[in-house]
């Protein structure tokens, strides 16, 4: 008896399924047309203009895009952002998973409080949190260097040193892993216990069952976190804006920070729009690569079709 009625069925059913699909996503289509398409098209059009926000935009053709080639800060901000993304994304994926595994230890005393604590940094409003870290990194009075001084080590100048500023921001972002961990946690909870029981009956210890049961079943979650991490990390803004304002010596000049500066501090919104679209392309290409690669390593229990 054919339980699965989906493949090889008559066109009428296929058409009904398609109609249902479009009906269900119609709110999204509506929202896209109203809230997204207009502003996005406008920003694309603006990228071909010079606009100071105070007077009407002036058409300048491809000038904004060709200017990027000679713009030292464009390449600098791209380099900073790419380097930071390469540093951060792997740590987010791995660190988040480790944190989730710790959060998943139902037997540990006070685990509920622990989970809340891991999630705490995400909850504290962005600005206040970064400000606390600015103090922690303070070369004279901050927690890290004061503690190092106790054991006689002179700590680096962290945010005030172009060689360590980016690393300092990276360290700060590690405290925000709670959010990723929770998503992993949901994924972990979704793994049917029978699989583990079966593995145990076959004599598998905790490491093999992690590698052969947990990880494969987690691939949809890992995929989600990877895509989202790429998209979000390329657009890092707040931490740099509050903590370093791009300095010292532009060592933390993130791309979106540079964009923001061009738009709202240097009265060059047209150029900022062009920058945004370049970033969009970069993120899009990378995401497509990841999505494409998904067919080889992501396993969906529900049989994605």
């Amino acid at each position: 008896m054919q339980l699965d009625s989906r493949p090889r069925r008559p066109n009428r059913l296929a058409r009904r399924e398609a109609i249902t699909f479009y009906l269900c996503i119609s709110p999204w289509i509506l929202g896209f047309l109203i809230f997204t398409l207009g502003p996005v098209a406008a920003s694309f059009g603006l990228s071909f203009t010079r606009w100071d926000l105070l007077s009407p935009p002036v058409f300048t053709g491809l000038r904004n895009y060709t200017h990027m080639r000679d713009d030292k800060l464009f390449w600098q901000s791209l380099s900073v952002t790419v380097r930071y993304t390469l540093m951060y994304v792997p740590t987010e994926l791995v660190g988040g998973l480790l944190l989730a595994l710790l959060m998943n230890q139902a037997g540990v005393r006070g685990i509920r409080a622990v989970r809340t604590i891991y999630y705490l940094p995400t909850v504290i409003s962005g600005v206040a949190f970064v400000v606390v870290w600015m103090w922690i990194f303070n070369p004279q009075a901050g927690l890290i260097n004061a503690t190092l001084a106790r054991v006689g080590i002179e700590g680096p100048r962290w945010l005030a040193d172009p060689n360590t500023a980016l690393t300092a921001l990276w360290m700060m972002s590690l405290w925000g892993l709670g959010r990723t961990a929770i998503i992993y946690l949901a994924g972990l909870k979704a793994i049917p216990p029978e699989l583990y029981e079966a593995a145990e009956m076959d004599g598998a210890g905790s490491w093999p069952s992690f590698v052969y049961v947990t990880l494969p079943m987690l691939t949809p979650t890992i995929f989600f976190n990877l895509v989202l991490s790429i998209i979000a990390t390329f657009q890092t803004f707040t931490s740099a804006f509050v903590a370093t304002n791009g300095g010292p010596l532009d060592s933390t000049l993130f791309f979106v920070l540079y964009l923001y500066r061009k738009a709202f501090q240097e009265f060059q919104m047209g150029y900022a729009a062009a920058l945004a679209w370049v970033l969009f392309l970069v993120i899009l290409v990378l995401t497509l690569l990841v999505v494409r690669s998904g067919q080889w390593w992501v396993y969906y229990e529900g049989e994605k079709r």
Binding site: A42, G110, W135, A141, A146, I183, L228, M269, Y300
Partner: protein
């Protein structure tokens, strides 16, 4: 319970694990503890060298003063309203849309899904001005609509999250329901929803926290001070020239409390909640 429990193993393992879990927790707590410490100091003591953990004497008035400089009670209510309306929007719209992307087949589906993802890739500063113009034309400035209405037509992040989740659910239940003659609506409501409760609770919690901490949108769309949200209130303590650290810490802590409490309590629903198992069948 997704891992083999360690209860049958040697208790030493459990103690080590507890130690590790709590060790990391203390590490995570450090910035938070510093915030509490700073919130109780007069400003000039915060950057003292060497750093003092215990304020001497503790200035409890900081809390009263910080929270009354501006009407934070009102800001919290404003923010809560926005958060709740947004949560409802997300739960309603994103669930259906995500399910459609996960289970239904239609021409253009995968392309549309990429478009959904693509909407997250354009940095906000450049669409901010055209969006503002749009909302101004609609007459929505100084209302909560620009912050909440978009939630009712889906949000890329949550659509993606839920779609991944739905794809991990085995088709057996739906297939059984299809055989029993259920239509898509009934499948969603009776079969998927109970199984998806943890994911939906995650969506709710994340939305709550995101709304609570949202800064740029309220900054642009809410101009009347009595409509301000918590984040707008907090940035008052930073001016171009000086920052009132103690007040900022005190106010940040107090305004973060609702989210912390909600998370702590709601854990039951989405972490320890109904597990996804086909056993009960």
């Amino acid at each position: 319970m997704a891992r083999p429990t360690l209860r049958r193993r040697v208790p030493l393992r459990r103690w080590l694990l507890t130690g590790l879990v709590w060790g990391v927790a203390i590490l995570f707590l450090i910035p938070f503890l510093w915030m509490i410490s700073s919130s109780l100091k007069p400003n000039y003591q915060i950057f003292a060298v060497p750093p003092q953990w215990i304020p001497n004497p503790p200035r409890w008035e900081n809390y009263g003063e910080a929270l009354t400089t501006l009407p934070f009670g009102r800001y919290m209510i404003n923010t809560a309203v926005i958060a709740i309306v947004t949560i409802i929007g997300h739960l309603l719209s994103c669930t259906i849309i995500a399910y459609a992307f996960a289970r239904l087949r239609a021409p253009g589906r995968d392309f549309l899904f990429l478009v959904v993802l693509a909407t997250m890739m354009l940095p906000y500063p450049v669409t901010m001005v055209p969006l503002y113009v749009l909302f101004k034309q609609l007459g929505w400035i100084n209302t909560i609509l620009p912050l909440t209405a978009p939630a009712y037509v889906g949000s890329a992040f949550y659509i993606f999250l839920l779609r991944q989740f739905f794809l991990t659910i085995p088709r057996d239940f739906e297939d059984a329901a299809v055989i029993d003659g259920a239509n898509i609506v009934q499948i969603l409501w009776l079969v998927i929803l109970p199984l998806a409760l943890p994911a939906l609770a995650t969506v709710a919690i994340f939305t709550f926290q995101a709304s609570w901490n949202d800064f740029l949108a309220p900054l642009i769309y809410l101009q009347k001070p009595d409509m301000y949200t918590v984040t707008l209130g907090l940035q008052f303590f930073r001016s171009t020239f000086t920052t009132n650290w103690a007040y900022l810490m005190a106010a940040s802590l107090v305004t973060a409390l609702p989210v912390i409490v909600v998370f702590f309590v709601a854990q039951r629903f989405f972490i320890e909640g109904i597990t996804l198992s086909g056993v009960k069948g």
